[in-house]
């Protein structure tokens, strides 16, 4: 019996590598291979067209280019503002949806519906709602608040990226909200009740008891949202300005530029995006470890 278990375990240990190898090989080849290939080309190394020397010209070019720096600032603004607003509203939504009420199941279903609606559909919906002649503008004209499409404030293709942020907030409230709601439901309301019965007011009970409980979930979901909103392409491509464009859009524009000399710069921008995401992954791993230890 004992011998059987031992050999079984030995076999398992051997088979770990067999179980992992195919998936790891594919991810290494495609993901790391893609990054490595992009990195080499960002260094101007492309033997296929006779470029055999490494240099940092592309990085030097983009970091001295005002357009790139403006894109970088805009992209941070989009990611930070979207993540902040979405997190706050998601926590508020989760608190709103927590207690038992009639029709809770159907409300929860509609709340999670956005999880599976692709970003692209949401972005087109936001476009048709908030463009100058969009549905919101029509309703405001009907209410005599504005007279013509031109009176409607620019919310798409605008310098503050309002439409893009609305789209992200719309999509990410349920994403963060569902995670927070699950924590709230599994923890229950006992701790808060104790705090309340000991004299804490609603705000104190939330601030001192509930918030610390949900914070790990909020933070880890926010990191994922920030990384996504920082690197997503189709939403700013559809709803944003062409100049300054969000960083992924700028990288795509450079990549598809007829001038082949712009390609190493496109790759350099992709590397900047990958680098910032790597920092976020490290933050994510570190945070999840810290919270697990607690």
């Amino acid at each position: 019996m004992n011998r059987f278990r031992l050999s079984e375990r030995g076999a398992e240990r051997l088979s770990i590598s067999v179980l992992l190898a195919p998936a790891v090989a594919v991810i290494v080849l495609l993901f790391l291979g893609g990054l490595a290939s992009g990195f080499l080309r960002s260094l101007n190394y492309f033997p296929l067209i006779g470029l055999n020397d490494f240099n940092f010209d592309a990085y030097f070019a983009i970091f001295t280019d005002n357009g790139f720096l403006q894109s970088l600032v805009l992209t941070f603004h989009i990611a930070f503002t979207s993540t902040l607003i979405a997190s706050i509203l998601a926590v508020a939504s989760a608190l709103l949806l927590r207690p038992a009420f009639r029709g809770k199941r159907i409300v929860h279903f509609f709340f999670s519906l956005n999880l599976t609606i692709p970003h692209l559909v949401g972005a087109i919906g936001v476009l048709y709602l908030f463009q100058n002649s969009g549905l919101v503008s029509r309703i405001m004209t009907g209410l005599d608040i504005i007279q013509r499409p031109a009176d409607f404030p620019a919310m798409v293709f605008d310098p503050w990226a309002i439409g893009i942020i609305i789209q992200y907030v719309w999509k990410e409230i349920p994403f963060i909200g569902v995670i927070v709601l699950a924590i709230l439901l599994s923890v229950g309301e006992d701790y808060e009740s104790v705090a309340r019965s000991l004299g804490a007011n609603r705000w104190q009970a939330f601030r001192q008891v509930t918030l610390p409980l949900i914070m790990p979930g909020v933070v880890s979901a926010s990191v994922i949202v920030f990384a996504f909103t920082f690197g997503a392409f189709e939403i700013p491509y559809l709803l944003g300005r062409t100049f300054p464009a969000a960083l992924p859009v700028l990288a795509y524009q450079s990549y598809t530029d007829v001038d082949l000399a712009a390609r190493p710069q496109a790759m350099a921008m992709a590397m900047v995006i990958a680098f910032i995401s790597t920092l976020l992954i490290m933050a994510y791993m570190k945070l999840s470890r810290v919270y697990i230890r607690e």
Binding site: L20, G38, T116, G122, G142, V180, F228, A251
Partner: protein, 282 residues
């Protein structure tokens, strides 16, 4: 046991106010979440909808006829999107379930590195990777065809499936297998009658969402498909600026699988399951 603080006299009217307020909040929230779908649906059945009309002056099924008609290749694109998503799901399940088992059940040297490697493609944006992949794929003839697009879709889907399965196996007690083996069951019989029933719901939910992640990819298909592979999101984007009626109808087609999946899996889908973690990719 939830013990609310004892109600004090005079607090009753305030409680009613709170309930009303809560419902106002819930309705406002749901209205915001549904709002972008409203113009899409109206556009899909409109014929004339000029500014400043709040509703179309004439309705028609024109957009839906266009969707069905062969000229716009919507049916072809739907078939191609489905084929790619199915291929991608099969590959992700075949590779991701074993890898998830290794990560969920075992501790081994270098596990942390493998975890980072699996997590990284979920967080690093597709665009940052796909420009380099495009360079490789062009060289090996994988650009502009379904095979290449399927492979590049594995970048977000395979790590997702692996993570989901790693979560499923972490909650699975491997002793059941040892018991079955010691009672004389063979390797295959053990997998078939003990392991599979235990992890099957997880595999199904993971596979459904894997399908959706591939189904909704835009920029990976745009670059690797190179104009040759036309999927629904590619068509949808092309119509978004010029043909709102057709874009509206296409959007309805495009979101249907997601709603179906949610209906099928909502029972299993709580925020603490790994299934939600990767949905940022849809």
């Amino acid at each position: 046991m939830t013990t609310a603080p004892a109600p004090l006299p005079g607090i009753a009217p305030r409680t009613i106010g709170r309930t009303t307020l809560r419902w106002a909040g819930i309705m406002g929230l749901l209205a915001f979440l549904v709002a972008p779908m409203v113009p899409l649906f109206i556009w899909s059945i409109s014929f004339r909808w000029f500014y400043p009309d709040i509703l179309p002056s004439e309705y028609s099924a024109r957009a839906w006829e266009q969707v069905i008609s062969p000229t716009n290749n919507v049916i072809g694109a739907t078939g191609q999107t489905t084929l790619i998503a199915l291929l991608c799901t099969v590959l992700s399940v075949l590779l991701g379930v074993p890898a998830g088992r290794a990560l969920g059940l075992h501790n081994f040297k270098g596990k942390r590195i493998v975890e980072v490697l699996i997590l990284a493609p979920i967080i690093v944006p597709g665009l940052a990777v796909v420009l380099g992949i495009d360079t490789m794929f062009i060289r090996y003839g994988l650009s502009g065809n379904i095979l290449g697009v399927t492979l590049v879709h594995l970048v977000p889907t395979l790590p997702y499936m692996t993570l989901v399965m790693s979560g499923v196996y972490a909650n699975y007690d491997v002793d059941y297998e040892l018991q079955a083996r010691s009672l004389g069951a063979g390797r295959w019989a053990t997998q078939r009658y003990v392991t599979l029933p235990a992890v099957f719901p997880g595999v199904v939910v993971g596979a459904l969402f894997t399908f959706l992640i591939s189904w909704s990819q835009y920029v990976l298909t745009l670059l690797i498909g190179d104009g040759q592979v036309e999927t629904l999101p590619i068509l949808l984007f092309n119509f978004a600026r010029s043909e709102p009626a057709i874009a509206g109808a296409l959007s309805v087609v495009f979101i249907l699988p997601g709603i179906l999946v949610l209906l099928l899996s909502s029972k299993y889908l709580s925020g603490d399951s790994a299934a939600v973690g990767g949905i940022g990719n849809i």
